[in-house]
């Protein structure tokens, strides 16, 4: 019997959902509001040398990759399953577009983190 691949996508959806539920509000606040406005946090926090050092550290690399990849896999799975609700018939093409773009985003994140160096 062919094994279902559903648990893999469900697992990525769940992991991304949990990670975003715990950290996404504060992450959006830090990167999109606090640092750009210099509100509660210094603008220097995300200066080039500081972020380069952060992204070169294995912990920083892991965190950035986990956030980008798990967020996009969570979103792709949820959007794919919502297509039916908005009256779009799903099939292999919709599956490929949803999960394929998540795979592409993950690959680009991995590549950029690799290119940043160690």
């Amino acid at each position: 019997m062919k094994r279902s691949n559903a648990p893999v996508f469900w697992g990525l959806f769940g992991a991304g959902g949990m990670l975003s539920a715990l950290f996404a509000p504060m992450l959006v606040f830090i990167t999109g509001i606090a640092v750009p406005l210099g509100l509660l946090l210094p603008r220097d926090l995300m200066s080039y040398p500081r972020m380069l050092a952060f992204a070169r550290h294995w912990a920083g690399k892991t965190f950035v990759f986990a956030v980008i990849a798990l967020f996009i896999w969570h979103a792709a799975h949820r959007i794919f399953h919502s297509l039916h609700d908005v009256g779009i018939r799903t099939g292999p093409l919709a599956r490929l577009l949803c999960y394929g773009s998540a795979a592409l985003v993950s690959a680009l994140a991995l590549w950029s983190l690799w290119a940043i160096g160690f």
């Binding site: 715990l22 959006v28 080039y48 980008i68 967020f71």
Partner: protein, 132 residues
């Protein structure tokens, strides 16, 4: 060809008929915001790998009034995402038994929301300590 034209009730706008479905659709729509934020961060990572000029361009983009407004809206959506994630967690996770009694749905939701508040505070404190 038969002349039958059976009545089929239209499904358009089905979710607007019931507040429960409206909340369901808003919860599902938060996925679009999670995807958008992942793309914002991906752009940042790509700019960081492209050098200082590209990175400063990304930072300048984040300082634009449009970006600030979009991030305020994204923040609201993310807070709703957090709330709805733990609201449905009693239905998405296996039943938990403590001392022979099943853990109540509201207890699971409250524990989840408490964890989210703790994670939020912890992340801010860590970032503040790492800062200049």
């Amino acid at each position: 060809m038969s002349g039958r034209r059976p009545y089929v009730r239209s499904m358009s706008g089905w979710w607007r008929r019931d507040p429960f479905f409206v909340r369901y659709m808003i919860r599902e729509a938060t996925a679009l915001i999670v995807a958008l934020y992942a793309l914002v961060l991906l752009a940042g990572a790509l700019c960081l790998s492209a050098g200082e000029g590209a990175w400063n361009g990304w930072l300048a983009m984040l300082r634009s009034p449009v970006s600030i407004a979009v991030h305020v809206l994204m923040l609201a959506a993310m807070i709703y995402h957090t709330y709805s994630w733990f609201e449905i967690m009693p239905k998405t996770m296996p039943a938990v038994f403590v001392g022979g009694r099943r853990l109540a749905a509201t207890t699971i939701t409250m524990l989840g929301l408490a964890a989210a508040v703790a994670a939020t505070v912890a992340l801010f404190v860590v970032v503040r300590m790492l800062g200049p």
